[in-house]
Amino acid sequence: MDVTGILDEHKNRFKSIQVERLVPVEFDLGLMACFDVNMIDEAQLRASQKARDTYLQELSREGAQLMINELFSLPTTVDEDSVYATLPAIRTVLPREKPAPKEKPMTRWEKFAKIKNIQNKKKSRMVYDEEKAEWRPRFGFKGVNNDDQKPWLIEVPGNADPYDDQYKARREEKKERIDKNARRAQRNFEENLAVEKGMKPRDMRKRELQSALVLSKGSTASMGKFDDKLAGEPKVKGLKRKFDPLVKNSDKEKSNNMEILNRVSKGEAKTTSVVNVRKAQRAINNAKRSKKQEK
């Protein structure tokens, strides 16, 4: 039985998916891009717009066909009645939009957990509340741990004074917990800052205290000059002001004055703007013009 006829008929029913290219096309499937270095028919591109567009469409169709062939041969996963092709890693180097994040320094707890090899147990967000027979968040709004926001009754614990306000006690405990957490976070921050600067945290605190002391000393009416010094306090070093003697060498005096003159007139006008020459000139010109108009 000759089946070649039937096979040929079947083949001719569908259009070919083969594309011929002299130089193999490079693909970057991670980006879904292809780079074709084959020779382009320049005559077609220089021709009329319509011919050019038809040629470009043909070229694009072939390129797209090649890419579709590649994409359909990738490993696939089926998910919710649509087929997904797993893309490989990107090969072209593309720049990031922001630099890579700096590594955050470890907190005290993290260092401890690392030594003791304590793993972080992931807890679920929702917890089943037996009493109310519903799912509630573990923390936060309508959370399981916030039940005692305003309980209608609090038993006085055995060791407490019966006249103490237990509601107030609860509020204060919660506030203390929050403050403790904030203090610890602040301590972590300061320690990491000190480590970044290459100092021990204790030394950094010492330095800060000393500079604060010096500043506070000078905040009196007489700038701390007549205050009694405590025993063992270090001598505060201030800025030493140097004054030239009244009667100077005449050459030196001349050169100093010339320097000042130069600075004021031209020399450093551009950099230190002692006198903004442009503005001054404009002011003079405006004055002259207004004088002329008056006349």
Binding site: Q49, A64, Q65, T76
Partner: protein, 310 residues
């Protein structure tokens, strides 16, 4: 220099954390700005590119005094405020008609940009084809060896790949390959100057082909642009190096010392260091004590018993 804003509630904090540098980054947002004078051609181009780039795109409809090649401050300010790392500025002047500047920023500073003259633009509305859904990833085709050789075109290729990349994805739905962007390098000019670049966009239809891979048919969707490369600003060496630096977490870790044989069994190799056999701590046997060798006459009752019991 904008001050770093402080978050006053959790929502604001989440917003700021989203904009912080990350290991795996968000998709890049593109900003479309108009210059002080514009032409209809360039406005159409900007509008079409914006619709291709949605939803990760911001369109400024007011005119701005903006000259990217002369002053970088306005672009950097916009990038910082809008958290956009791609920008497209359109303007028109007698010297540079229908001017389109495409560029990227790194860490809110201009990384590189390319100035293109739009010599012809056919908008999406002029083609009667059905446009594709918003947010689809396009297939990109670059035709011509000039894209590997000509420095300006290499830069253009890099910028266009970044521009139309869309969200980073590690898998793609085979039904969602809806459109194709083709960039072809035209013939070079007489003096070796860069030729026209033909930018074409098509929608795809996949037809049966009797095999697993379908047959692709294209229909032009637009925009269709003929671009002339004008000025190019290449990135500085160190900025480029910093920009392509991959964070350590993303580097692929090679699995060493693990292999599979033909039957599928997994084999591992354990490297044991050099062992000092003389210094290994074994069970203490009195008979093996060194000083007992000096007095051979003494009877070793216990050790003999032990020997017998073995």
């Amino acid at each position: 220099m904008l001050l770093k804003p402080k978050a006053k509630n959790a929502r604001a904090k989440r917003f700021l954390v989203n904009r912080d540098p990350k290991i795996v980054e968000n998709g890049k947002t593109a900003l479309f700005v108009r210059g002080s004078t514009t032409s209809q051609v360039i406005l159409d181009t900007l509008k079409d590119l914006y619709s291709l780039r949605k939803p990760d795109a911001i369109n400024f409809t007011k005119k701005n005094e903006i000259h990217p090649f002369d002053s970088e401050t306005s672009i950097e300010f916009f990038a910082r405020k809008n958290d956009s790392s791609l920008f497209a500025v359109g303007m028109h002047s007698k010297k540079r008609p229908h001017n389109l500047v495409l560029g990227r920023t790194f860490n809110y500073n201009i990384l590189d940009m390319i100035e293109l003259g739009v010599e012809r633009c056919t908008t999406m509305q002029q083609f009667k084809a059905q446009t594709c859904a918003i947010g689809m990833k396009p297939l990109m085709i670059f035709n011509g060896e000039a894209f590997n050789q000509n420095e300006d075109l290499v830069r253009l290729k890099s910028i266009l790949l970044d521009f139309f990349r869309g969200e980073a994805a590690d898998k793609v739905s085979l039904k969602g390959l809806e459109y194709v962007i083709t960039v072809t390098a035209g013939p070079a000019g007489a003096n070796g100057e860069t030729g026209l670049v033909f930018f074409r966009t098509y929608t795809t239809t996949l037809k049966k082909s009797g095999t697993r891979q379908p047959r692709v048919e294209l229909e032009e969707m637009g925009p269709s642009l003929d671009l002339r490369v004008r000025r190019v600003r290449q990135p500085t060496e160190d900025m480029w190096k910093q920009a392509i630096k991959m964070p350590r977490e993303l580097k692929v870790v090679k699995t060493k010392n693990i292999s599979r044989d033909g039957l599928g069994d997994k084999y591992g190799r354990i490297h044991v260091g050099k062992q000092e056999i003389n210094k290994i701590q074994t069970r203490k046997v009195k008979a093996l004590k060194k000083h007992l060798d000096d007095k051979p006459s003494k009877k070793q009752k216990t050790s003999n018993d032990m020997a017998d019991s073995d």
